[in-house]
Amino acid sequence: MGTETTLVSEAPCEITLENFLEFPEGRKVLSCIQCGLCAGTCPYGDVMDYPPRRIIAMLRAGMLEKVFHSESLLNCVACYACMAKCPRDIRLTEVLLPLVKEEIFVHLPEVPPELQKALQNTLRYGNPMGESPRKRVAWTKTTDVPIPILGEMSRPVDVLWFVECYTSYHPRGQDNSRALAKIFNGLGIDFAILGNEEKCAGECARLVGEAGLFGTLQDYTMTLFRRYEGRFNRIVTSGAHAYDAFRYQYPALGFDYQVDHTMPFLFQHLEQLKPMLSRKLNYRVTYHDACCLGRHNGFYEEPRALLTAIPGVKLVEMTHNRINSICCGGGGGGMWLDTYYKAKGYERLSERRVKEAVATGADVLAISCPYEVSRFEDAAKVLGYDNKLVVRDISELLAEAMQS
């Protein structure tokens, strides 16, 4: 932990709502043309009192205080739709909205209990579901292939696999991890995981506006990386949110590892993977673009290329795809606000998405972000589509197509 203080003091001056206009990404709000594209594309735009456009207008008029007393941004699922389409390229989801959200939470009389619990769990146990940190590696006992743990090894490895929370603890998330282990093994990837030392990368805490919690998790994980300095070459994670945090937030603390999400990572190995995909899967598959992966990082075609490499798979597109994809509703804390949304009478986005998936006639809804499996399976069940549509991570499909 010796390096911790240096890390903090080296961090550049943090952007806040007070010094917002001193930063280039902050000054961009001055160029807003109030076109409303952000509100129009927002999946909850029709129920927000202060969609991004109005927040900018209030900010410019010096009336932002008023926004702090509304609950409006609790509907922001940090899906990057507004930012991806903004004609002035204003860093809404990245910069402005988390800052405003933070203030909103400060002024909120009561944080929705489900969310509060998740945040407390993350602080206390390093995962939002409140599972024991000692059981983080439990899933590795259920795999057919050995899962090396970096701390227990003396030699360095090529890839540090950052597993993340849902893929460690949630039964369906574990399916994803088991599938990945099989694929990595098949590809001959030299990898290891952090094991019980790993904690949540913190991205959602940041996008909920919990900058403090995010900072704590970030410091913890950076210290861990520092401890294993030279013991791995790069990081691969199936957590779309973790990938995003590593790529955009961690570099401010000196993080300079090459980091890949599993989708682009496996895409790089596609030619090697193809001959291994020998089992024909006669599925009609539709793919849900994960927000962090697609809109924020532009990986639209890689997951599709992996799917269509599987023999027998027929890929069909939902009405809203790629940049226009509709969020599963899990980002920015939405994962733990379902009860709140329900109480307010809002449609759950995962249900909106599952309806679109069913309309394509697909029998598999393919995903690439660990939040989605439980959200979509739950939505399919609620809507009575659970016998029509199964939800599978692309890694699961790839592993299934590999003859064991």
Binding site: C35, A39, G40, D46, P87
Partner: protein, 665 residues
Amino acid sequence: MQEPSERGSRASRVGVFVCHCGTNIAGTVDVCRLVEYAGTLPGVALAREYKYMCSDPGQELIQQEIREHGLDRVVVAACSPCLHEKTFRTATAKGGLNAYHFQMVNIREHDSWVHEDKDAALEKAKDLVRAAVRRVRLHQALETKRASINPDVLVVGGGIAGIHAALTLANAGKHVYLVEREPTIGGHMAKFDKTFPTLDCAACILTPKMTAVKAHPNITLWTLSEVTRVEGYVGNYQVNVTRKPRYVLEDLCVGCLECIEACVYQQAKVLDEFNLGLGKRKPIYIPFPQAVPLLVVIDPETCIEFKSHKCKKTCVEICGERNAIDFEQQDRTETIEVGTIILGTGFKVFDARRIPYYGYGTYPNVYTSLELERLVNASGPTGGEVVLRDGRTPKSVGIIHCVGSRDAHTNRYCSRVCCMYSLKLAHLIKEKTEADVYNFYIDMRTPGKGFEEFYNRVAEEGLKLVRGKVADVYPEGNGDGRLVLQVEDTLLGMVRKVPVDMVVLSVGLEAQADAQEVRRMFNITCAGEGFFLERHPKLAPVNTFTDGIFLAGCCQSPKDIPDTVAQAGAAAAEALALIDAGSIEMEPNTAYVLEEVCSGCKTCIPMCPYSAISFLEDKKKAEINEVLCKGCGTCVAACPSGSIRQNLFEDEEIFEEIEGVLTYA
């Protein structure tokens, strides 16, 4: 040409004149201290400042001081030489010196406008002035030469810009070559139905001008032709024009169109380019009824004779003795000589597929505005009926403004014409279908004569105006084919989902796909967004940085028909000014070869962008044609033996200048 060794010693009576340019310079650079400093420099006889050196009294001051103080060199520290070098050279010459015994220092664009620290700006100005003084003391007297101007003009592009420029010049008695890539002239304007704000029919005002081009004795019209090579310089350009085969002989075809009727294709089956694929044509066709020249053209891609050589050739049969069809026609290249060139190469419309969330190319009932122009046009594929692809008349239409404009992800600029044409289309659609028409706009931009009045008129017709940029277009769930436009109505502060039968995307204007190649061929410049760059945005809007080449219309920036015509007239006037002057003064800053040092290695020859260097076989030396040389200096830098030198950029002068700017004073 003198040998460096023979050159005279340094001049010793330099006059330095510093301009305030109002507060443009004096607001940042302490002009008085600069003058004080300049007066101390070796060889400086006098230093003066004046509020506006370019004004008449300012110029008079220079002349007077030359005479009174016997100055032998002049330095003016002011703005960019692009603006006033000529002014001060003239003043120097009027004062009795050689015009090139002068050096200009740019302390505005290079100093006061780009620096905030006043002390540092003054130091920089001192450095620049010191460098210029040291350099000017070595300047040699140079003589300007004159080049004659060929009175013939090349106009590239047969849209309304090219047509208007060509007619203006031809009416002034000049011979014009009008070169058009397509089979007909008329450009985009020929595709429009009505024109804003007066709603006069585009064809009614355009076709008389097209016909006049065809009939004009001073215009040589070449369609299906492209410029493929440009050489020479202002007044004397040699241009190659490649004329693609029409497979119909222009002087024999009478435009009876019987061959089209007779084509073995009973039905038109090929997507018709002129109607943007909304209609069909045969392999032998005319683009549209008022095409000029009214000559049929054969498309070798789809004509059976070209594919199989086994066609019955009913077209040839019906043409009979006129014998106008020639399947053997090949590319021909014509070489012409012209003195001036006007580029009116137009624009391309934004490809709406680049914004996937508007569904163009995915949903058949999403159209571009240009496609709508064809649909409302009586000569269009539906005879002027606004109908959907399945033949139904739309009951509601949504027009989305700013598609591919004002957007960091596509084009940042405003395309200037879309608000007005969107209002016009709204009016025409309403008139023809009585549909509910929604216009989704960000800002309604109607700056032009009669434009705001037109906006008012269309609004009063019951147009549904929604202020907001549409975020999403998707099919209504119930399968009736209607499309939902999801948008925040920013004036109501609520998200609306508006179902419509037809979506029209008001696509912006972009530079032509081959603008970069054209730019290189004509040796002109493109601005960041790809349009050709004018020499000065306000004061030389139709000139380019290459003398004798002018711009007209949308190749320079998006603009409407009135502005295009005005610019085309201006470009014609600029060409006429050159032609009627008869000759042009050439800069004497040309390169020359020191014959005795030249080893004849020929390194310089392929380097010259103006083909000004030739090889003298008898002497085995390089020779530079002074008239062709533009003084770019490439050969000077490339010559391995240092045997090429350049007037006004002699090695001694440049070294002296460098030493001057680097010497810490």
